[in-house]
Symmetry: C2
Subunit: 143 residues, 2 copies
DNA sequence: CACACTTATTAGCTTAGCTAATAAGCCTGG
DNA sequence: CCAGGCTTATTAGCTAAGCTAATAAGTGTG
């Protein structure tokens, strides 16, 4: 127990930090490359396997029509493929294509350089704090 | 030193957590109310005092034309006022209006309820982790 | 004092998000 | 067994948030 911020201050500071860092992350996107949103959706598909658009929209906390657009962009680039649902004619199953997986590999190695570099500049203890906080923030975002 | 994630994993998890939480925060905005972006800019003006558009755009990590739009929205609502720069005819000084400050007060009390509520559900130790991480994330975002 | 630089804005684009409406398929109760 | 209500996905159309390029106005210096 080191810090002593009031709950209000903590809320405000956290919101501000998230907002700014999100912008900063977005700026790092190389031109012509995947947006953060697209990358996140593709990652969800890699982790979750074949998902329907609805499932994917829930995972990404986005409305279904929004996901339709994101999926369309990923499909244009051949990064995901769609197969009919085995039992439900309405639904579709989305999966990363070979190329999609390859792109994710590249990203994991090459991209996030900026963020990775920043984190590398932290002490081991600071990285530990961030790692623990990341888990907590994921819990927050999940609801 | 509790967690043992690789740097790559940490980078990816942090980016994902930030992205998702940012979306989640955006969803909490009451209809007809300030967007997160507008709120953030207004807060910067409260903290920084009278700033020029350029200074504000730098504080918010946004290009000047983007800030022009945000400022226009805030001005429409009478939340900021602009005064000529005392010595430089090109520049403008932006400050929160009385009403702008009042709105910020309201926000600080009423808004962020969702986030504050979530944080309240954390243990003191978890809140401490988040507080420390927030400071680190701000440092990251600042560059 | 002309010319280069800085500041702010305008114009015009993309992406990301939303709601409302529509079309297609599923399923159940009479 | 099929009519009508639900679910899923998409389309249409909107706003906000971001960008770059171009422009207009003002500053300041060689």
């Amino acid at each position: 127990m080191v810090t002593q911020a009031s709950p209000e201050e903590l809320t405000e500071r956290l919101r501000d930090a998230i907002t700014r860092l999100n912008r900063r992350l977005r700026q790092e996107r190389p031109v012509g490359d995947l947006t953060v949103t697209q990358l996140s959706a593709l990652t969800s598909l890699r982790i979750g396997g074949a998902l329907t658009p609805r499932e994917l929209s829930e995972a990404e906390r986005v409305q279904p029509p929004t996901m339709t657009k994101i999926v369309a962009k990923l499909e244009e680039r051949g990064l995901i493929s769609r197969t009919p649902h085995p039992t439900d004619g309405r639904q579709v199953l989305l999966s990363p294509s070979e190329q999609g997986l390859a792109v994710l590999e590249d990203y994991q190695r090459v991209r996030d350089e900026w963020l990775a570099g920043k984190l590398a500049g932290f002490t081991a203890q600071e990285r530990d704090t961030v790692a623990r906080a990341a888990a907590l923030l994921e819990r927050l975002a999940r609801d």
